[in-house]
């Protein structure tokens, strides 16, 4: 028996040795390439952001505010059980600086008092309005309400529950302006947000079809009357790591892709689209888990197939602030969903992969997403398992393993620090020295611990997608930003029903 065990261990050792010898260099190269690509994206973003900041003086935001010709915007706010903060959110959205905008709230069959709160706060009354069916929808609209004054540009559409994507599609049908902004009900927009994301449409009205706004973590910030008045790092370590992650992967990463002309993901939490293009492509896919990613991919495919000259752009400032998960349970659910959505969308549009017809999207962005977004958690965890196995079997020298991992993760920390440098030289949102200490510490945590954990969750999501399991949305009850008193945002998480955090971003 002992001989059999010993033989088995020897065979395993030989196998691990062979595998490690075979993949040692490719894994290291993979790490080098993925982090170098991040650095390149950050470099592109830095160029763009510095240019953006230098243009601030003559950008002409005030002229846009006063312009009678600026394109009108319908802000679509899908809401499900958002009674805690919906009134403050809508008040803030109505008060955004923009010459012509309306707010369309779509209550997706909430079981709490979301609609009642709105009804009371804005003196809403029902009107008989038949919404057009420009975009196909599933659930029946039960009621349309508007303010009794008939002047405030707010519309509340109540419908049976059918999910966020269908709610947004109903909002697209109810929208009366040529541009449509999709905003989560729990998001807090900077006062100039609409000006920022609408400006590319005004500057290039024919070609611009979609813009994405930057998303940052609201946790820890002070909110008064639906506005961020003080930016602070969150108290939760998990949220602090996400602040750094959002900055590196989402904000600077997308700025880089936008600069490169191959942006394929606009977060559902804050994106603006030409309404006619949304109607043309059929709105959001209600069956998709990564509906925001899927939508942008569909726009790319459709417009390229029609040989149209078009642009999709990311705007790094201003910002939509959103709560990020502060418990592992909710974060796990979010990351599983994101990765599953990533897989399903990449698979759905596999025909575009490497296809020169789709230009930089097909030849660069999609191969990158396949290699460095979809497969990253698999390769990373496989490498770690092999190292641990190799150490246990004595195949790998401890000090060599240490050096190997130090190089791999040290480079990742370097990338995060590069992102923080760009932030410090451009927006420098977190102005306290204490916050700087926190972000520096978070740049290490992001790569040691957090990264491996999320890699595992992402694999779970991918597996669920491959095996066709039913997607279960995460649950996250929000405190909301209500009241005139300052509210430091730290979401309390319970198991009550409701939609999970809706940023469709993927790192």
């Amino acid at each position: 028996m002992a001989g059999l065990w010993s033989g088995g261990v020897d065979a395993l050792r030989a196998l691990v040795e062979t595998v490690m010898a075979a993949i040692e260099v490719p894994v290291l190269v993979y790490f080098l390439v993925i982090n170098t690509s991040y650095l390149l994206l950050i470099g592109l973003a830095a160029w763009d952001l510095i240019h953006h900041r230098r243009r601030a003086e003559h950008a002409g935001h005030d002229e846009t505010v006063a312009s009678q010709l600026a394109p009108g915007v319908s802000v679509i706010v899908p809401a499900y059980n958002e009674e805690a903060g919906i009134v403050t959110s809508v008040q803030a959205m109505l008060a955004l600086r923009y010459p012509r905008h309306e707010v369309v709230v779509v209550d997706d069959g909430s079981t709490d008092g979301t609609s009642d709160r709105l009804r009371a706060a804005f003196d809403l009354v029902p009107v008989e309005r038949e919404l057009p069916t420009d975009v196909p929808t599933r659930a029946a609209v039960t009621e349309v309400l508007v303010p009794r004054s008939g002047r405030t540009r707010l519309v509340l559409v109540r419908k049976n529950n059918s999910g966020r994507s269908d709610a947004v599609n109903v909002g697209i049908n109810a929208a009366s302006e040529p541009l449509v902004a999709m905003v989560d009900a729990d998001s807090i927009l900077d006062p100039d947000s609409l000006l920022g994301v609408a400006k590319p449409f005004a500057d290039d009205p024919i070609r611009m079809v979609a813009t994405g706004g930057a998303i940052r973590a609201a946790n820890g910030c002070t909110v008064i009357d639906g506005r961020i008045v003080q930016i602070r790092m969150p108290g939760s370590r998990l949220a602090r790591v996400q602040v750094v992650e959002y900055l590196r992967a989402f904000m600077l990463g997308r700025t880089g892709w936008s600069r490169f002309g191959a942006l394929i993901l606009i977060s559902g939490a804050f994106g603006m689209f030409r309404r006619d293009v949304l109607v043309e492509v059929g709105g959001l896919d209600a069956d998709s888990i990564g509906e925001d990613f899927e939508l942008v991919m569909r726009i790319h495919r459709s417009l390229t197939d029609q040989r149209r000259d078009y642009r999709v752009q990311f705007v790094a400032e201003p910002i939509s602030w959103t709560e990020v998960p502060v418990t592992a349970r909710v974060l796990r659910s979010q990351r599983r969903r994101w990765h599953r959505g990533l897989w399903e969308t990449l698979w759905k549009y596999r025909g575009m992969l490497g296809n020169p017809r789709y230009g930089r999207v097909g030849l660069v962005a999609l191969p990158y997403y396949w290699a460095f977004e979809l497969f990253a958690p698999l390769l990373e965890l496989a490498g770690l398992v092999l190292v641990v196995l190799g150490l246990a079997l004595g195949v790998v020298n401890l000090s060599y393993a240490y050096v190997f991992l130090a190089v791999a993760y040290g480079y990742a920390i370097l990338v995060t620090l590069a992102a923080m440098t760009v932030e410090e030289l451009s927006f420098h949102k977190y102005d306290r020295w204490r916050d700087l200490r926190s972000t520096l510490a978070a740049s290490i945590w992001e790569n040691v611990g957090y990264r491996q954990l999320t890699a595992w969750w992402r694999l779970e999501g991918w597996w669920a997608g491959l095996t066709g399991r039913k997607q279960v949305w995460g649950t996250m009850t929000r405190q909301g930003f209500a009241g005139t008193q300052p509210a430091a945002v730290e979401p309390a998480l319970t198991g009550s029903p409701g939609p999970g955090p809706r940023d469709g971003s993927r790192g």
Partner: protein
């Protein structure tokens, strides 16, 4: 060199790079904090004077004299605040701020910057010259409409609009079409600039409406509608019927809705036919409502059953705007269980809330 040595070398390089970046972050913050404090300290004593000038409360001119006498090192810090204020004020306070900029040779500097190699500097200079509202700067700004940088072209057009000299209208319009592979200035920027130049652009506008370039015609119809240029009505009618570009026809419909009269109803109704593009149909229905002529009522009534429900909704709203004749049609439809009844009830609901119901129909 062995792979282990290579890894060790890489580790050292990465570690050092991390250290450098951490130092850059801390250094940048220290520099920024100090610079902000210094600027605040330098500007603070002069801020009340700036506010007095910008709010027009410097009747004796003492604040202006004080600010004009600032040494250049101090003025460098005050300058940007003065420029921001200049963008927000009009009349005498703006003139005083402009005089201050002259006193500190900012205008000469801006004129020099127009030839700078830096596009940001050229754009800043163009922006400042626009804020001065001085027609003497038009000849210096016009060449920037063909600048290699799209930013500079855009700022130059905006500045020409701020100055408001109709002499620049032709140049702004000619910067709209793409040239030499470069994007033209955005249509809305050109339109805003022309609107800022007032009625004096009418002759240029007439030429632009007949331009071979669709982008130029698009700008021209927008300006015609927003600026109430009634002298171009005959051209707008032609464009509505015959322009090959739907966007131009749509713009002409908007303009006719604002400026036209009963004789335009028939043409607008023709464009609501199902064969027209959706946007044009919807715009024409809105324009018929804007005109408010009762002769449009039968056509609008027929559209209440339209399969395009947004069009039907707009037709119902247009009927409200037509007045009593339109409202009566809607009231007759209210009892209907068909699609016309739904949009009629919706339009009447909204009209009541807005207090738009004609007295005879309440």
């Amino acid at each position: 060199m062995s792979s282990r040595s290579l890894l060790l070398l890489a580790e050292v390089v990465i570690g050092l790079s991390c250290l450098v970046l951490a130092l850059v972050i801390v250094g940048a913050r220290l520099h920024r904090v100090r610079a902000t404090r210094r600027t605040t300290r330098m500007v603070a004593p002069h801020r009340p004077m700036l506010l007095a000038v910008a709010s027009g409360e410097d009747a004796e001119g003492s604040a202006r004299a004080h600010l004009a006498s600032l040494p250049s090192a101090t003025w460098e810090h005050v300058r940007s605040t003065a420029v921001v204020m200049l963008a927000k004020v009009r009349g005498a306070p703006a003139e005083t701020l402009v005089a201050l900029l002259h006193a500190h040779a900012e205008v000469e500097r801006a004129l020099g910057w127009l030839r700078s190699r830096s596009a940001v500097r050229r754009a800043r200079a163009a922006y400042l010259l626009g804020l001065l509202h001085d027609p003497a700067n038009v000849p210096a700004l016009v060449p920037l409409l063909s600048d290699p940088s799209p930013d500079v072209r855009l700022v130059a057009a905006r500045s020409l609009g701020l100055i408001g000299d109709p002499a620049a209208a032709g140049a702004v319009l000619s910067a709209v079409p793409p040239r030499d592979g470069r994007m033209g200035i955005p249509a809305w920027v050109a339109a805003e600039a022309l609107l800022g130049m007032g009625l004096g652009v009418a002759p240029v506008l007439r030429g632009a409406l007949a331009s071979a370039d669709a982008g130029v015609r698009d700008v021209a119809v927008t300006v015609a509608g927003a600026g109430a240029f009634t002298s171009v009505l005959p051209q707008l009618r032609v464009l509505l019927d015959h322009d090959p570009l739907p966007e131009v026809r749509t713009g002409a419909a908007v303009a006719l809705g604002r400026l036209g009269g009963p004789r335009d109803v028939a043409a607008l109704i023709r464009c609501t036919a199902p064969s027209s593009p959706t946007t044009l149909r919807r715009t024409c229905v809105g324009a018929l409502g804007e005109l408010g002529d009762p002769s449009a009522v039968p056509a609008l009534t027929a559209l209440l059953d339209e399969p395009d429900r947004r069009l039907a909704e707009l037709a119902a709203e247009a009927l409200v705007r037509v007045g009593t004749a339109g409202a009566e049609v809607l009231l007759r439809c209210v009892g209907s269980t068909g699609p016309a009844g739904t949009v009629a009830r919706g339009a009447l609901d909204m009209a009541r809330l807005r207090g738009q119901m004609p007295a005879a129909s309440r």
